[in-house]
């Protein structure tokens, strides 16, 4: 048989090119030809690995969320060996903020997809709308743990707090993305919010940890 090329790897490379272009010029502006040029291959090849543009977009979305999930996991892992619930939650939320270029691209492209999904049925049925659900479950569990350990202030409802924290960090994320807020301000706000959930301030503040 012919050249031994790892199809999955090739697909990953091309999808990566798609995400790069989308991050640079906006998802709405990427064409098949742009992706091909960015990946350094011919237009035909892009068609070969993803028969249609829609499939390419869907694959790109999947790849985007996967990579982001890994990134967040790594950042949480870096938070320490036996971190308290607040530390883990802080790491989780901060990792979701578009503070560096990679994360900025993620937010931009992900939000583009989310907007498209409102008017595109095929996109709306995609599981990427279910990823936040998983995050909610995890956050709720973490808050429940903290509650049992007596770390939270009285009257804290884990699920409601989880939803609020996710919405807050999502809102802060987009406001950073559009250049409305600085990373510093966002960290301050997040810090204050966590102060109202937890009894004790965990270690150093988020704001201090940002060199901005």
């Amino acid at each position: 048989m012919p050249k031994r090329v790892d199809h999955d790897e090739r697909r990953t490379e091309i999808a990566e090119a798609l995400l790069r272009v989308a991050g640079r010029r906006g998802l709405h502006a990427v064409g098949m030809r742009d992706v091909a040029a960015e990946a350094g291959v011919s237009l035909r090849l892009v068609q070969y690995y993803f028969e249609t543009k829609e499939k390419l977009l869907l694959h790109g979305l999947r790849q985007l969320t996967e990579r982001f999930g890994e990134r967040v996991a790594a950042q949480v892992r870096a938070a320490g060996d036996h971190p308290g619930p607040r530390t883990v939650i802080e790491a989780l939320l901060m990792a979701s903020l578009p503070l560096d270029e990679e994360s900025r691209v993620f937010h931009l492209v992900y939000t583009s997809y989310a907007v498209l999904s409102v008017t595109d049925r095929a996109l709306a049925e995609q599981p990427f709308i279910r990823d936040p659900e998983a995050a909610e479950e995890r956050l709720t569990a973490l808050l429940g743990l903290a509650e049992e350990a007596g770390l939270t202030r009285p009257g804290v409802d884990a699920r409601i707090e989880a939803v609020g924290l996710l919405a807050l960090s999502a809102g802060l994320g987009t406001s950073i993305l559009v250049g409305q807020r600085s990373a510093r301000t966002a960290a301050d706000v997040l810090d204050r919010h966590l102060d109202r959930i937890f009894r004790d301030r965990g270690g150093s503040s988020l704001a201090e940890r940002i060199a901005q």
Copy 2:
């Protein structure tokens, strides 16, 4: 001179048609021909009143924010004659949530514009990015008033709270938009958050006020 047609009125009608189509099929999918058909006029007329598509889009954005501002103002006015700061803030934030069709369209189109503005310089320089600033000022002032009146809990920083509240309601808004949360859940979260800022629960809760 020729037929006395109010140009501004005409422009408003056409821009309204643009927003309707954008709300139905997504901003990325609207073409000049779609707008013309929706407005019941010829393509040429759309070109006549807005020479270029970019100008049409910018006018549509301005119109969108204006209409939304009026809507919010009306909803706040409906909150009562001498409402307390919390009531006003609640009305403000709830009016920003996409609970009915009109507001849903606003959120969708506005978010579309925001996403585009990240990669489009002309859009980024548009003042619609400054509207949230005005909202922040107003919220900060309201919270400051509440603080002076002794209505808030100790340790409340008006500006940080304002930023947090806006980010929270923006995040809740988009999560409602993509069908991830119900209006009820969003109201609950907002309620809880306000409970942590204010000493007393204002009148009835937001959640109770929603028939959902």
